[in-house]
């Protein structure tokens, strides 16, 4: 296992070194470089930060200082199934924090963390742009509108069951439930039977 991770890190290091050659050694390129690395590898490892510092010939703490200043950058690998819970204004007013809490509780991790098996990670985001469907969570890039605490378990379970069926490494967590008759399709829940909006005021 350790070897596999080491090999993976080595590969990342090589990739970063080779992509850095496209960028001039210019301080103004720092943020675009960090963005490029995050886009290719989903996070900034300590090694990546060191490599960038060496390339631009600036102290590591400078790179770290800039990277931590901005919300975009993350420093641990995200899960295979990233869960992003919207805590924009509209979602907050409709209790988005309760949704976030439910994900945290069900997965046993805190916001910004990844489960030990790297299967799930939970993050908060500001406004996904569909406030009309608040509260909203984005699971595996699929927007789940009109979330409710009771939908949380089902969503996680579907992914776990899908994994089990396709033989992907087990869930590793002890969450169990009797409600296993859930539909295993991850379709957006946006078309649920909420009464359609009315024209004009009631």
């Amino acid at each position: 296992m350790d070897e596999a991770i080491l090999a993976e890190e080595e590969a990342i290091h090589k990739d970063i070194c080779s992509s850095l050659t496209d960028y001039e050694k210019n301080r103004g390129n720092l943020i675009p470089i960090l963005q490029m690395i995050q886009q290719r590898h989903a996070y900034l490892s300590p090694d990546a930060i060191k490599t960038v510092a060496e390339h631009l010939n600036i102290p590591v703490c400078e790179v770290y200082g800039v990277a931590t200043f901005y919300n975009q950058f993350r420093f641990n690998p995200p899960g295979r199934h990233p869960i992003r819970v919207c805590l924009g204004t509209a979602c907050h007013v409709r209790a988005g924090d309760i949704i976030l809490e439910n994900f945290e509780r069900k997965l046993g991790i805190r916001e910004g963390e990844t489960t030990a098996d790297r299967e799930f990670s939970v993050e908060r985001v500001a406004c996904v742009g569909c406030c009309a469907l608040a509260p909203v969570a984005v699971v595996d890039e699929v927007v789940q509108g009109r979330m409710a605490p009771s939908k949380v378990e089902g969503l996680i379970l579907r992914i776990r069951m899908k994994n089990e069926r396709s033989g992907v490494r087990g869930s590793g967590s002890e969450v169990t439930s009797e409600k296993s008759d859930d539909n295993t399709n991850l379709e957006p829940l946006t078309s649920n039977p909420e009464p359609p909006f009315q024209k004009g005021a009631e």
Binding site: V66, Q72, T89, A90, A95, A132, P149, P188, F197
Partner: protein
């Protein structure tokens, strides 16, 4: 010069019109699908696929035209179907799920039945179907900035040009830069980025700055966590913004342009980048624009998500690869900005307003809106309204008209409580202010702010204290840390608010909130700190009794603060056999009492409200109450009569 200018432009225009003609004259139906982020989030991609598949299955020919967002977020995915052969006018359908798409293909496109029960309205006035133009949402809006949004394909420059796009640029080039600036100054346009600085003055100052190495920056950082009109604009009509930028660059004499857009807006980044490429291909950008000797290169810079980077000096720092910390002004960016050179920074909406002004003149623009704030304002109205979404209204319309007429009022017969305007820098206004006209000065006077243009409508079930805490939580996290009062003062403000919402507030707290807020305002360098206390100050001013209820009675009138509320099950109403509440409780706090009725274990309850929603309306047995002490205590029996865990 003007001759070649016209020739070059007319050639492009002709091509655009030719393409438009082919599109229009191709027989068969046309399906317009809104595909901006909001549409995609609501499933527009699946809807489009469903149309394509069902068209193929039925062997029908129809043109699918992907457009941007028309701002009616409550109705997404929005589809407009033109089916001339059916004899009906173009029809607006809302919430078109893949299933509905298949049904419409079969029944409307093939058989000619528009399915009246799914029709929202006809797009134009006609005799057969009520038109959407009769709804306040449509006929009270005045669209200048978003006029073409949702009507054109943002991925196709010719679609914009066919609608008259880039003709304002030609007009601008025919005049001297000074004349262009004079026109903008006379129009009275004020920056839509929040502060409302006169755009003409800003350009004039930039023009007068020495040197030719100037830069125009389009500020699309949009940090407000609940507002998204800048993104929508870039996703629905990027060319109008680019046209505004080119005119600005010409007027101030800049050779470089930059669009600063959040990396969190991947679709906007993609569409703007593509729009720049297309504009270059037809010589609307790059070297020798439209055959003149005017050059302009525009690049995209992806902001990494920091609210404070919307502030112009911080934005410049971040482009230079540093932490986005604001600097002291003066010198203003128009004198010394990016890399020490003169830089004009304008908001997306400001730039998008430029082409219409040049097209129709300052006089026309002044005739819209109020005297001190001419033109229109774009708001993203969310929260407790029937029809949330983006709304563009002339300045001077009252909040009441906007909320109750245009956006349809508060759903579920709830009572209006407050409206929060301007996001984290704005304020919370109560009912008395509903007749306030919306413009820069009236809002500032009332204690709110135009700010980002985010508007949250709150009903009686929202807690004003909690919303203030929410915004403060945001500004506290986003404070760059340069000024002590902003860094630590907001932390203390937040701490006090957190205590109050947890029922641990003491009476002295309210005084502390006020004093600290004033200190933060005075002790901060940039707008973030100067406005961060606004949500607290306005809510304290207008909703003091709510704070008092939290502090003195430990009660949350909106029943939102979770520590101050409790849920219990009314045993008289509970139907003993039903197990719905127990089934939905995420923490198994619901248990059965001796006679098999249900009760809630307060020590486990996380107050998610799920049981309240789930309890069948016939029983309505779950009750929410504040303060929590009022909930009856029911002990969990030692030996559960029936275990359902």
């Amino acid at each position: 010069m003007t001759e070649t200018l016209h020739q070059v432009y007319d050639a492009i225009r002709e091509k655009a019109e030719q393409r438009r003609k082919v599109f229009r004259e191709t027989p068969g139906p046309k399906i317009h699908i809104g595909m901006a982020t909001c549409g995609i989030a609501s499933g527009a991609v699946e809807t489009k696929k469903a149309f394509e598949e069902s068209l193929a299955e039925l062997g029908l020919a129809a043109q699918i035209h992907t457009v941007g967002c028309i701002g009616h977020c409550y109705a997404e995915p929005v589809v407009i179907i033109e089916h001339p052969d059916s004899g009906f006018p173009p029809i607006f359908y809302h919430q078109v799920t893949p299933g509905k798409a298949r049904m419409l293909t079969k029944l409307f496109l093939e058989e000619g039945d528009p399915r009246f029960e799914h029709v929202y309205g006809a797009v134009e006035l006609n005799e057969m179907i009520p038109s959407v133009m009769e709804f306040p949402r449509f006929n009270q809006e005045k669209r200048i900035i978003m006029q073409k949004c949702g009507r054109i394909d943002p991925e196709d420059i010719y679609d914009y040009i066919a609608e008259g796009g880039y003709s304002a640029l030609v007009r601008a080039f025919q005049r001297s830069p000074e004349e262009v600036i004079a026109e903008i100054r006379d129009s009275g346009l004020r920056g839509r980025g929040g502060a409302g600085f006169p755009t003409g003055r800003k350009w004039e100052m930039a023009r007068q700055s020495a040197g030719s190495d100037k830069t125009v920056v389009c500020n699309a950082d949009e940090g407000d966590p609940g507002a998204y009109m800048d993104r929508t604009l870039l996703e629905s009509n990027p060319h109008q913004v680019l046209e505004g930028m080119i005119i600005c660059a010409y007027a101030v004499g800049a050779k470089k342009g930059m669009v600063y857009v959040r990396a969190e807006y991947p679709l906007a980044v993609k569409l703007v980048t593509q729009a720049i490429r297309q504009a270059k291909e037809v010589k609307l950008l790059g070297k020798g624009i439209l055959g003149t000797d005017i050059d302009l290169e525009i690049e995209v810079f992806q902001g990494s998500g920091a609210f404070v980077c919307g502030e112009e000096t911080a934005l410049i720092q971040s482009i230079e690869g540093k932490r986005g910390m604001p600097k002291h002004r003066p010198p203003y960016p128009v004198e010394s900005g990016l890399r020490g050179l003169p830089t004009v920074i304008n908001n997306v909406k400001t730039l998008a307003t430029i082409p219409p002004i040049l097209e129709q003149g300052a006089e026309w623009f002044r005739s819209i809106g109020t005297e001190k704030s001419p033109g229109t304002a774009v708001f993203s109205v969310v929260g407790s309204v029937l029809n949330p979404g983006l709304v563009e209204i002339p300045m001077g319309v009252t909040l009441r008209t906007l909320i109750f007429e245009i956006c349809g009022g508060i759903p579920n017969k709830k009572k209006f409580k407050a409206v929060q305007i301007g996001g984290p820098s704005g304020g919370c206004l109560p009912e008395e202010f509903l007749d306030t006209p919306i413009d820069f000065d009236s809002l500032t006077q009332a204690g709110a702010m135009m700010g980002s243009g985010g508007m949250v409508v709150m009903d009686a079930d929202t807690c004003v204290v909690d919303v203030s805490r929410y915004f403060l939580d945001f500004t506290q996290k986003e404070s760059c840390g340069k000024c002590t009062f902003c860094r630590i003062g907001t932390w203390h403000l937040l701490d006090i608010l957190k205590r109050i919402t947890k029922g641990e507030g003491v009476e002295d707290d309210l005084l502390q909130l006020e004093r600290l807020s004033e200190d933060i305002k005075n002790g901060s360098l940039c707008g973030l700190g100067k406005t961060a206390p606004n949500p607290v100050l306005t809510s304290l001013r207008y909703f003091r009794e709510e704070y008092d209820a939290h502090v003195k009675e430990k009660r949350c009138p909106g029943m939102t603060c979770r520590t101050l509320t409790a849920y219990y099950i009314d045993l008289d109403r509970c139907a003993r056999g039903c197990d719905i509440c127990g089934g939905c409780c995420p923490v198994t706090a619901v248990f059965s009492t001796k006679n098999r009725k249900k009760a809630i274990d307060q020590s486990l309850c996380v107050k998610c409200g799920e049981c309240l929603v789930a309890c069948p309306p016939d029983y309505k047995a779950v009750v929410k109450i504040s303060p929590p002490g009022l909930a009856p205590v029911i002990e969990r029996p030692e030996n559960p009569p029936e275990s359902h865990e």
